[in-house]
Symmetry: C2
Subunit: 345 residues, 2 copies
DNA sequence: CCCGGGAGTTGAAGCGCTTCAACGAGGTGT
DNA sequence: ACACCTCGTTGAAGCGCTTCAACTCCCGGG
């Protein structure tokens, strides 16, 4: 393994010069810099990560914690993870992937050992176990998701309440008066992961304001479960003409079932989905939907966490970058699954 | 930040003793060990990862490279990643997530800098760009997937050829004579990612052996694409009674379309899927399927890579753990989507 | 002609850990 | 009685890098 010292010798300069060429923290004359850079290339030098971390007490690693309990929709998680990794590289950082099992311990370990400079937490619960640590640690952290108490925390998420309202507005404008929400699996609500509840709350609020009637039913993604949920909805409220789905696994079964039951989409029933763009565009009936901006969330989380990391590395004043709740505004794209409410009943 | 030296002072022993308590590489008397352990707990000590890596030249990090080109089915990737992370922790290692963008450079960087002790490569292409590096580097590496030349490499994968044969055997036993494969997106074949081709080859071989006729059509996951693919299949070969699907996104649309066309599953058409268990069980018709053992693959990859890492760390003889191709045998689970071929035509 | 100051470069002191060689104490075998 | 182990513990030498303080030049101003 080539070391900095060897590069220095090869280039005929001191070790510190090589270090400064690498970091750019001191001015180096052009000829020297070029000589050093040539030596680096010729010897195939790569700075040793451990030594670097030890000397600088910065690892250039971001920890990405995703507990990944069951019932979470993996593709969205994955998309966020990819965006995080990609964006982190743009800041010369790598991403350490931490999953469930260890729970809050993992965070403690990673932060305590200096393995990571910063953390991004996914799948945040309302009363998340990891929050006490996050509040105490000097390492910058960003949550993707919203806990119940956000004081002092930096969070990124889609504005799910606004999402719910937006869906209702769209349906209301089309003349629908009775709507239903086919939601995430019951386990998701029980776990009190905020996003599912927030959507439903948004829907309910706006429905109330507009004098509409609404029903909410959790539903896991299996065909049977969707069938049962639909049956109960139409049984209880046969006049339902609008459905909001927030559960990607349920979408295609839902469309299939409606078709089977002779309910045409959108002539008899309008469907609005909350899901990634890609999903909405590829279904049997192209879905009017509010996109879940997974990539944007991942990217933004990294930008925010890096801003704080940079502040505490340079100025040393972490409060120069104040905590901040970043709720992305939802956008509704109209496709083929929504239309005017059937006039006659 | 608490250091080893402080722990030593607190426990009234030397630094090396603390280190040996931590690593267990020398015998330490019970009373001393306990004293040290108490100090560690009381002070809340966490060994510094950088210092450790520098001194021991082992980082306890495994790099997981997933290029994640488009068209890959994310949930399976994700499941593998989770299994890798979980299993790595059992070996006291963490996982560094490397995604596309940088390409083979990422591997060079991570290995060159000593950031990772070992690598697991996913989404392996037949002529993978990363192979030259993998063959040269002293760091242990395991591929998930099969390149065309596997000499000197350790690989883990489902035996997709056997999977293809297994599907055919099942259909043949039920009396089907004309079958079709609804495959992955055309891009997947063009990229020459082995697994998709291997399944089709397995199907074709066995079909030939048994004197069956078979058709293969790539297909992306969108509803339209599935519709087009199905139309072409039945247009070209109306006597088709068996379908093998290897494309999870296509499954639910496929079932929906067959239903719409009045083709009953399994009375008129039998469907065998190659997909994760979980997917097969939750569809509108429970699918006879060959499972993609994502978890097992991830776990096995880590076990193999750790075995090699351990060998080169201890004995120093890396050849004590020879390279090895581990093809997991497929298992077919019969569910409700396959039945006897319709006798009359 | 001297002094002050910036630019470019360097030596050396760590960063916190692992590990080697060595040492004393207490057996065991002869 | 001796040599010779083994066991438990230790001091010290790095691992490869960053960064501080200092030093040398060289330039411009007084």
């Amino acid at each position: 393994m080539v070391t900095l010292a060897e590069v220095a010798r090869h280039a005929g300069v001191s070790a510190s010069t090589v270090s400064y060429v690498l970091s750019g923290k001191r001015t180096i004359s052009a000829p020297t810099r070029e000589r050093v850079e040539r030596s680096i290339r010729e010897l195939g030098y790569h700075p040793n990560a451990g030594a670097r971390a030890l000397a600088s007490s910065r690892s250039n690693i971001i920890a990405l914690m995703m507990p990944l309990r069951t019932d979470m929709y993996l593709p969205v998680m994955m998309e966020i993870a990819i965006a995080v990794a990609t964006t982190a590289r743009e800041h010369a950082h790598d991403v350490l992937l931490l999953t469930g099992q260890e729970g809050p311990e993992a965070a403690r370990r990673v932060v305590g050992s200096g393995l990571a400079d910063a953390m991004i937490l996914m799948d945040v619960e309302l009363e998340d176990q990891r929050l006490p640590l996050v509040r105490v640690t000097p390492r910058p952290a960003v949550l993707i998701g919203l806990p119940s108490d956000t004081t002092g925390l930096t969070c990124v998420d889609l504005d799910f309440a606004a999402t719910g309202r937006l869906c209702v507005d769209h349906l209301a404008k089309l003349g629908h008066r009775d709507i239903a929400v086919v939601g995430e699996a019951a386990a998701v609500y029980e776990r009190r992961t905020g996003f599912a509840e927030r959507t439903v709350r948004g829907v309910r609020e706006r429905a109330d304001e507009l004098g509409m009637r609404m029903l909410h039913r959790p539903c896991d993604g299996s065909y049977e479960s969707v069938a049962g949920t639909l049956a109960r909805i139409f049984d209880e409220r046969p006049e339902t003409t609008g459905i909001v789905v927030q559960n990607e696994a349920a979408i295609e079964p839902l469309l299939g079932l409606l078709r089977q039951q002779g309910r045409a989409v959108p002539e008899d029933i309008s469907v609005v989905a909350v899901c990634p763009e890609q999903v909405a565009a590829g279904t049997s009936v192209a879905l009017t939907s509010v996109a879940i901006p997974a990539q944007e969330m991942g990217r933004l989380a990294v930008e925010l966490v890096m801003a704080r990391a940079r502040a505490s590395a340079e100025g040393g004043d972490p409060s120069s970058v104040p905590p901040r709740i970043e709720l992305l505004p939802p956008a509704l794209t109209v496709r083929a699954s929504t239309g005017p409410a059937p006039a006659a009943r």
